[in-house]
C-alpha cells in the first residue's frame, strides 16, 4: 500500500484573486492532498500567506509558462495531480500553460476554470490540441506575412500623427 501522502501542484496562471476563489473548491475536491504552488517570482511573497500551501516553487522566467522553460526543482518531483488555473470557462488561450503542465510528472492533470470547475485533461488531448494549434499557427503566420506590411505602412504614415510628446 502506498503510504506516501498524495500531492497536487497548482500552476498559478491566473490572478491571486481568482486563486482565492478557486482554492476552497480545490481543497474540497482534493481534501487529502498536500498542495504545492508554482508561481512567478513576483508572486512568492503573496503566495506565502496561504495557510494550505505546503511548498512554493518559483518559475524563474519573466514570460508566460512555456513547455521549453523548465523548472529544475520540479524535475525531481512527482505528483498525483497538476492543476492549471484558467481565467475563462474553457481554457482557450492557455495551451502554453497546459503544455507546460504535461512536462511535470503526474498521475492526472486538471483544468480549474474561473467558476472553479475542475476538468481533467490528458497528454493525448493536449497532443491533439497541439496539432490543431500548429495548423492555426501556420495560418496566422501566413496571414501576418500578408497583412503586416500593410499595417506597418499604415503605422509609418500614422507615426507622425502620434509624434513624440514635447
Amino acid at each position: 500500500m502506498d503510504a506516501r501522502p498524495k500531492k497536487a501542484l497548482i500552476i498559478r496562471s491566473a490572478s491571486f484573486q481568482q486563486l482565492d476563489k478557486n482554492l476552497p473548491e480545490i481543497l474540497k475536491n482534493l481534501s487529502e492532498y498536500q498542495l504545492d504552488l508554482l508561481t512567478h517570482e513576483h508572486g512568492v511573497r503573496l503566495a506565502e500567506k496561504y495557510a494550505q500551501i505546503d511548498k512554493i516553487f518559483i518559475y524563474p522566467y519573466r514570460a508566460s509558462f512555456h513547455r521549453k522553460s523548465r523548472v529544475k526543482e520540479l524535475e525531481k518531483e512527482s505528483y498525483d495531480a497538476v492543476i492549471v488555473l484558467v481565467t475563462n470557462l474553457t481554457g482557450a488561450g492557455f495551451l502554453n500553460v497546459i503544455q507546460f503542465a504535461t512536462t511535470i510528472r503526474s498521475r492526472e492533470y486538471l483544468l480549474c476554470n474561473l467558476v472553479s470547475r475542475l476538468t481533467p485533461f490528458t497528454r493525448r488531448i493536449v497532443a491533439i490540441d497541439q496539432f490543431k494549434s500548429s495548423v492555426l499557427k501556420l495560418i496566422a503566420a501566413l496571414g501576418t506575412i500578408v497583412m503586416a506590411p500593410l499595417f506597418l505602412i499604415g503605422l509609418l504614415i500614422g507615426m507622425p500623427v502620434i509624434r513624440i510628446k514635447k
Partner: protein
C-alpha cells in the same frame, strides 16, 4: 500627518459603492479625503452618496466617459498620496497607514501596489501572521511590474507629472500605460504583501466582449505610445499574429475588430508618443498573452 486622497470611480453599482464607502470608514489612517467620481449612474448611486456619506466629495459626470473621469478625481485630489480603488473594492483597515510608511521610508518609491484579493474568500484561506514591513515587498530582481487599479497608492506629484490615466483608453490597460511612465521617470513600483485591498471579484458579471476588445485595442496603443521604434515594429507584428491566432482558436472576430479599431483610431493618441528607455521597455512585464484569454 500627510493627507491621503482616496479616489473611486463608479457606475451603476449603488450597493457595492455603499459597502466600499462603509468599509473605508474602518481605515486606521486619520488624515483622509474621499473623492467619488460618478460616471452618470442612473440607479440612485449619487443620491445614496449624498444622503449616507455627506463627508465624501462627489463629482458627477453628465455621461459615462470611462477612465477619463478618474482623472477629474485625481486633479481635484489635495493629498500628497492618492489611493485608487474601484467601486467594488476597498483597502483593508491598516492598508493606507502601511502604504504611507513605505512611501516615507523610500523616496524612490512611486507606487505602492496593493495586494488585491478576493473579498469573498481571502479571509477564510489566508493566515496573516505579522509580516515584517521591511520584508513585505513582492518583487522580482530581473523584471519590473505594473499594478492593479483596484488597489494602489501613488505619489500625487509623480502621478500628475506622468499625466494620470490615458483618457483615450476608456477601459483596461490604463494601469500598464502609467507603469511605463512611472518606471521611465526613475521611480519604482512595488507590491507589498501587507497592504491589502479587497475586491469583489466576480468575473461572471463582466460583459463578454468589452474586456477582450479594450485589452487588445489598448495593447497596440501601449506599444505605439511607449516602446522604442524597433520594439514597436516587433510587437505590432506579434500582436497582429496573436489577434489572428486567437480569433481562429476562439472563433470570434473581436480581436480583429480590436486591431482595426486600434489602427483607425490612431488619431486618438496623437501627440502622446513618449518612448521609454530601452531598459524599461525590455524589463517591464507586459502580459500580452493574458489579453487574449478574456473571451468567454
Amino acid at each position: 500627518m500627510k493627507l491621503v486622497s482616496v479616489v473611486m470611480l463608479c457606475w451603476q453599482r449603488k450597493d457595492d459603492v455603499r459597502e466600499s464607502l462603509t468599509q473605508l470608514k474602518q481605515t486606521t489612517y486619520p488624515n483622509l479625503e474621499v473623492i467619488v467620481v460618478d460616471n452618470a449612474s442612473t440607479d440612485g448611486t449619487c443620491e445614496m452618496i449624498e444622503c449616507d456619506f455627506p463627508e465624501v466629495r462627489l463629482i458627477k459626470m453628465f455621461k459615462n466617459i470611462g477612465i477619463e473621469a478618474y482623472n477629474i478625481g485625481f486633479a481635484n485630489a489635495k493629498g500628497e498620496y492618492i489611493v485608487i480603488i474601484d467601486d467594488d473594492s476597498f483597502p483593508a483597515p491598516q492598508a493606507i497607514s502601511r502604504m504611507v510608511q513605505k512611501f516615507e521610508s523610500n523616496h524612490k518609491l512611486g507606487v505602492v501596489a496593493f495586494d488585491v484579493r478576493n473579498f469573498y474568500h481571502y479571509d477564510e484561506i489566508v493566515i496573516e501572521e505579522d509580516i515584517d514591513p521591511h520584508a513585505s515587498a513582492a518583487t522580482a530582481p530581473h523584471y519590473y511590474m505594473g499594478f492593479n487599479g483596484a488597489g494602489v497608492g501613488i505619489k500625487s506629484d509623480v502621478f500628475k507629472r506622468v499625466g494620470y490615466y490615458p483618457e483615450e483608453f476608456f477601459l483596461y490597460n490604463n494601469e500598464m500605460d502609467v507603469a511605463f511612465k512611472i518606471w521611465n521617470s526613475g521611480y519604482t513600483i512595488e507590491f507589498h504583501s501587507d497592504v491589502i485591498s479587497y475586491h469583489k471579484y466576480s468575473p461572471q458579471n463582466r460583459t463578454s466582449w468589452r474586456a477582450p476588445f479594450y485589452y487588445t485595442r489598448n495593447a497596440y496603443w501601449l506599444v505605439w505610445k511607449n516602446m522604442p521604434v524597433r520594439l514597436v515594429v516587433r510587437y505590432t507584428i506579434v500582436l497582429l499574429y496573436k489577434c489572428l491566432y486567437a480569433s481562429m482558436e476562439q472563433q470570434t472576430l473581436i480581436y480583429i475588430k480590436a486591431a482595426m479599431s486600434a489602427f483607425w483610431g490612431m488619431n486618438r493618441i496623437k501627440g502622446k508618443r513618449e518612448p521609454v528607455h530601452h531598459e524599461v521597455a525590455s524589463k517591464l512585464r507586459v502580459p500580452f498573452d493574458t489579453f487574449f484569454t478574456f473571451f468567454r
